[in-house]
């Protein structure tokens, strides 16, 4: 933990504003089930879990959202999906997935029904639409995290 409470100085109006910076590291124990998800990403594979109603969740759900049952049936998924909806990041910010303009998109991986949020390197706002087909672009170096998927690329569409 680190925190700063350096003495405050009054403004011209004599009013003090005390600085308070709190920086505090956490970690997240993900357990055995989600460890498999992170390992599969590191190995360049998409794996989801199947729910009680047959739906496949990616990222995997640990417990069934309908019945609460602990889920343990894994399904290996293709690297392709469909854009469900999207927003355009015209001025990328530090630590975002791409340094040039890109789309944030809800992507439904083929074989699943619940979309996930990720980035699409569409190049130009005019090239992406709801329904666009996309494919995973893997990160060059993978460490077992959702950013092992660098972003998604648009698939060329048959016209």
């Amino acid at each position: 933990m680190s925190a700063a409470t350096t003495p405050s100085t009054p403004g011209a109006d004599g009013i003090f504003v005390a600085p308070l910076v709190v920086e505090y590291p956490y970690k997240r124990t993900v357990g055995t089930l989600l460890s498999r998800f992170f390992l599969s990403l590191q190995e360049g594979r998409l794996e989801g879990t199947r729910g009680s109603d047959g739906r496949v969740f990616f990222p995997p759900a640990e417990f069934d959202p309908v019945t609460g049952r602990a889920l343990d049936e894994w399904v290996t998924l293709p690297e392709t999906g469909t854009v469900t909806t999207w927003a355009w990041q015209s001025v990328p910010q530090p630590n975002q997935p791409l340094e040039h303009p890109f789309a944030w998109a809800l992507i439904t991986i083929d074989g699943t029904e619940v979309p996930m949020l990720h980035a699409v390197d569409a190049g130009d706002i005019g090239r992406i639409r709801t329904g666009s087909r996309v494919k995973v672009r893997w990160a060059a170096e993978r460490s077992g995290g959702v950013r092992d998927i660098a972003c998604f690329d648009l698939l060329e569409e048959a016209s």
Partner: protein, 385 residues
């Protein structure tokens, strides 16, 4: 007036410094599955869920009860979150009991949890606010002057804290779920334990644990039809006071005394020392055992430490305190209060296994939190009130 309520199922996780094998959701579910199995009901039989944990900065997940809905099978059910710092496990069980006593729900599942390995509980609650002097000493630093105040006021010999520590660590070896299993403590060895926050030694402090406790509560109508042992809730009480105010009694806070008086009155107890068979009391630093014995009205003022010296609080003593090993052996903060409440229930249900107190009929669970400012207690029995 109020309906009756009984505990029909108790389940806890194996507690450890880091349960890396489970997520927060998996940890909670482990306790829930055991409580449901103990009650011999399914998760679909639950009408409502009441969940509590210590403040969210401990794990850094805001409002985790929302995220945990799947793990709790809460789909379409009411979920209620309770926040009262370290006493929260007790307060949560009380709120759950009130869901039943109010006649609203027949079967209520209640859970207290903490996954302290995901953060650092000691520092997460020590944000140095600009208008207060930052101590940077954690809970031990906060409580050590209060313990010193007790020692000075009562004239207790300096080894009493170590005696409590040895008792609780030894008791914990009878509890398969306890975090610390350290059978080799002796008083001599404990007195050599490093001084952390004088007069509190390292051995006299609780560990930091991952863990969860879950209880299944039923209305009288349901419980009467339910096979198996029950712990009937005879009384519940909660009181709070500010951390600091002019003239505050820090060693034996008025809120704690009032809470206990309320509990005894509601439960029809006139002589707690005689009528209570076993007590699970929230003791995160060993010296709090004699302090709370006095605050609760078991021992007279300045006499609590003599109960420790005389072995009254040992398993086999007249009032066994924390036969489970207590907070001194297991401390997932948000679960710790419910562990006290649940262990008290287990005693009167005859389900405490190796740390069972023979013939326990009436037991109390006690929790406190913050700067000794939040109190929650319940009195349970194997018979109806």
């Amino acid at each position: 007036m109020a309906d009756l309520c009984a505990v029909v199922g108790v389940g806890q996780t194996k507690h450890a410094s880091c349960r890396a094998d489970v997520s927060i959701a998996g940890l909670v579910r482990e306790a829930v599955d055991r409580a449901l199995a103990d009650a011999n009901i399914g998760i679909d039989d639950v009408d409502a869920i009441v969940i509590g944990k210590a403040p969210d900065p401990l794990e850094g997940v805001a409002m985790p009860e929302l995220w945990l809905a799947d793990a709790l099978a809460a789909h379409g059910k009411p979920v209620f979150r309770v926040h009262t710092a370290g006493s929260v496990g007790g307060s949560t069980a009380i709120v759950a009991a009130q869901h039943v006593m109010a006649g609203i729900h027949g079967t209520v599942l209640t859970i207290g949890f903490e996954k302290q390995s995901d953060g650092n509980a000691m520092w997460a609650l020590s944000v140095p606010i600009p208008f207060g002097m930052p101590v940077h000493a954690g809970a031990g630093g906060y409580f050590s002057p209060i313990v010193r105040g007790y020692i000075k006021r009562s004239g207790a010999p300096s080894h009493v804290g170590a005696m409590v520590a040895v008792k609780d660590r030894t008791n914990a070896c009878r509890n398969p779920y306890a975090h610390l299993h350290e059978p080799d403590w002796t008083l001599e060895k404990a007195l050599e334990s490093p001084m952390m926050w004088d007069p509190i030694r390292f051995v006299e402090t609780c560990p930091s644990s991952d863990g969860a406790m879950a209880l299944v509560l039923m209305s009288e109508e349901r419980a009467d039809k339910h096979a198996g042992p029950k712990a009937w809730v005879h009384a519940t009480a909660m009181r709070s006071e500010p951390t600091a105010f002019a003239g505050r009694e820090q060693v034996s806070p008025r809120a704690g005394e009032m809470c206990a008086e309320d509990l005894w009155r509601k439960g029809g107890i006139t002589n707690p020392a005689k009528e209570i068979d076993v007590a699970e009391i929230y003791v995160p630093f060993a010296w709090f055992e004699p302090m709370w014995l006095e605050n609760l009205g078991f021992a007279s003022r300045n006499e609590g430490w003599r109960w420790v010296e005389d072995g009254i609080t040992d398993i086999g003593g007249a009032l066994p305190v924390n036969p489970s090993g207590g907070v001194m052996s297991t401390n997932p903060i948000g679960a710790s209060g419910m562990l006290r409440f649940g262990e008290a229930a287990m005693q009167v249900m005859g389900k405490a296994g190796e740390h069972q107190i023979d013939g326990a009929r009436k037991a109390i669970g006690h929790a406190y939190g913050g700067g000794s400012q939040f109190f929650a207690m319940w009195l349970v029995s194997n018979g109806k009130p």
